[in-house]
């Protein structure tokens, strides 16, 4: 099947009624959850995972992706209106977005955000579409040895993002790997680490784990440290929505620059969207004419990071889908969702099930259009929701967690798993461990073990093979480099 007919099939799937409906639902839910302070895209996707079980893989992915970039937008909305970032990536948007709101230009900031996000996603779609199949071709020549090394890179990268101690993040990764071991060993049929509990024979449940570590622990953290709302949300009138011509013109170049930066960072496994926004803002400040006035409400300071984080969100799908190496926690859950549906990410994904890949790419476009169209109308709604006290919200979220966990296989055990990992997650928060590396370890564990075993089988137990083969060697060198670089970074701070 040639490329054009693959794309055509993808388009037909993405434009089907079912896909459009679920894409819209995903986007709206995503914005809603992104707007709520305290719940990031990871928690959002974890909570909505059970719902996707009843959908086909393509539709499930479309919906989850919609949640993902919807929540990015929601986070930015909260950042602009309340100076409270809903997501890590939108923390940067507060810097110039909130001052704009205080000047009565909240609408302008929101509009620029929408456009910048759209531009970032739109341009990146072409990048993904053209680069990914090429990368998949290249990856077909990988053997188990290269796969092992690239998984190692992904795991090391996961451990080095964020600001915590590297040792602790590596420990989190390793615990995640061990959690992935729990269950039945494929090769021998023996039970490993199940502690005698029959329910663990299938392994730890991903949904329960994700909900517990991200959802429950965030919930508890928000309860324990109630968000101190700094100011009342700025008013947004429809007329104030439109930016002036000058402002639009000034935003164009930052959007393009941001897109480039985001696309680049998203590609690297292990770096998330937050880094892209920070870097884009920093660079824009140095490059822009109004750079010195950043922080007082410059549209460039909103346009660049917003374009960057959307571009990064999209290009992060490339390593996830073509190599099976997720870039951050969100991608890890996406990967988990794919695995649950029986779709194996990796070079074979594009070759065996091209319709899923292209449907997803096209749906990015559709989803962003939906965002652009619907959001100006719904901003008033989001503002109202922002003022709902947390005391009303958290029982609702709790209910979602309970039912979501139970619905996975109608076993109370999985709900208790959520309790267990909620405790673990909160403990990790308190003691300074990052949760995302654990999740990545959990998802990549089985892949790592299988490839390691195969690689050593083929080399008859010779570990040297990992440095002997050039591609593998470069991956391992990259991993080492990442470790050293982030260690230096931490020393410098």
């Amino acid at each position: 099947m040639d490329l054009l007919s693959q794309i055509a099939i993808g388009i037909s799937i993405a434009f089907s009624v079912e896909a459009l409906v679920y894409c819209t639902i995903g986007v709206l839910l995503g914005v809603l959850i992104g707007v709520l302070p305290g719940f990031g895209p990871v928690a959002a996707i974890s909570l909505l995972l059970p719902i996707t079980f009843y959908l086909s893989p393509a539709i499930a992915l479309i919906m989850l992706a919609g949640v993902y970039y919807g929540s990015n937008y929601g986070g930015s909305t909260a950042a602009i209106l309340l100076n409270l970032p809903g997501t890590a990536a939108s923390a940067v948007t507060c810097l110039d977005g909130y001052p704009l709101a205080r000047q009565g230009k909240a609408g302008v900031a929101l509009f620029i955000t929408t456009i910048a996000s759209f531009v970032g996603s739109f341009l990146c779609i072409f990048l993904v579409g053209s680069f990914a199949p090429f990368l998949a071709e290249f990856a077909l020549s990988f053997s188990a040895v290269e796969y092992t090394s690239i998984v190692v890179v992904g795991l090391v990268a996961a451990a080095t993002i964020g600001t915590g101690s590297i040792l602790k993040s590596l420990a989190a990764v390793t615990v995640g790997l061990l959690l992935g071991v729990v269950g039945t060993d494929i090769n021998s049929g023996l039970y490993r680490l199940t502690f005698g509990m029959r329910e663990l024979n299938e392994g730890v449940n991903l949904v329960a784990l994700a909900m517990g570590i991200f959802g429950v622990s965030e919930l508890i953290a928000n309860l324990v440290n109630p968000d101190l709302k700094s100011e009342r949300p700025a008013r947004v009138t429809l007329r104030s929505l439109l930016p002036s011509r000058d402002e639009l013109k000034r935003s164009l170049a930052p959007m393009l620059r941001g897109t480039g930066i985001g696309a680049g960072f998203g590609l690297l496994p292990g770096t998330g969207t937050a880094i892209s926004s920070f870097v884009a803002y920093g660079i824009e400040r140095r490059v822009s004419r109004n750079g010195r006035k950043f922080g007082t409400g410059q549209v460039e300071g909103v346009a660049a990071p917003e374009a960057a984080n959307n571009a990064a969100s999209l290009s992060a799908f490339i390593p996830t889908l073509t190599l099976g190496i997720p870039g951050d926690a969100v991608m890890a859950i996406m990967l988990g969702a794919l695995l649950i549906h029986g779709v194996v990410p990796g070079p074979f994904l594009i070759n065996d099930t091209p319709e899923i890949f292209w449907a997803l790419i096209v749906s990015f476009l559709i989803g962003n259009v939906i965002l652009v169209v619907l959001n100006p109308m719904l901003i008033g709604l989001w503002v109202r929701i922002l003022s709902v006290p947390f005391d009303w919200l958290f029982p609702i979220v709790l209910a979602l967690i309970c039912i979501g966990a139970y619905s996975v296989s109608m076993m109370p055990f999985h709900v208790m798993t959520v309790v267990f990992f909620g405790l673990v997650g909160y403990g990790m928060l308190v003691f300074g461990f990052q949760a995302a590396p654990l999740l990545l370890g959990f998802i990549l564990g089985p892949i790592l073990e299988e490839n390691l075993r195969r690689a050593l089988l083929l080399s008859r137990g010779d570990w040297y093979v990992f440095v002997d083969r050039p591609i593998s060697l470069s991956f391992l060198a990259l991993a080492l480099g990442l470790l050293l670089w982030s260690q230096l970074q931490r020393k410098a701070n």
Binding site: V181, V224, I403, M410
Partner: protein, 156 residues
């Protein structure tokens, strides 16, 4: 001395040790033919070393430099623990009751318990939540998504 890091390191080492113990019966095999116990044993070893490293690095940092990995403590540790326990009990109660009493009662109990974690108690709010949330969940999950969760049951 960074106390948090020492505890963290100890916990990490403990996890490694427990794992090692749990895979006791499994064959390790040799490098060329990895047995079921090989990978987890390797990981346990890595964990224990990392745990040692964490403890060691905490001994080196002085008191002033102790890293702030956790959230800023606005509330007292006791209140925090209480809320933690309440939320976990709320979810656990759902797990315990769903099979025995069905969706509505178990959800109601769960929500009821969770409202205890609020900073300011509001009986009206609690009652509204306890009544509406189970019903809304019923609509969404039973009728919206078609999950066959029993609404009411009696299997104590």
């Amino acid at each position: 001395m960074d106390r948090k890091s020492i505890v963290s390191g100890a916990v990490v080492m403990a996890i490694g040790a427990i794992t090692l113990h749990q895979i006791g019966g499994l064959e390790l095999g040799d490098t060329a033919r990895m047995g079921p116990g090989f990978f987890p044993a390797m990981l346990s070893g890595v964990l224990i070393s990392l745990g040692v490293g964490i403890v060691a690095s905490s001994l080196r940092t002085s008191r002033n430099q102790s890293e702030s990995g956790g959230p800023e403590e606005v509330t007292s540790p006791r209140t925090a623990t209480t809320k933690l326990v309440i939320v976990l009990c709320a979810i656990a109660s759902f797990a315990f009751l769903i099979g025995r009493l069905g969706l509505i009662p178990s959800m109601a109990v769960s929500i009821g318990i969770s409202t205890l974690a609020s900073q300011n108690r509001d009986l009206k709010r609690t009652l509204i939540l306890v009544v509406t949330v189970p019903l809304v969940s019923l609509v969404i999950f039973r009728y919206g998504l078609g999950l066959s969760i029993p609404v009411f049951a009696w299997k104590p």
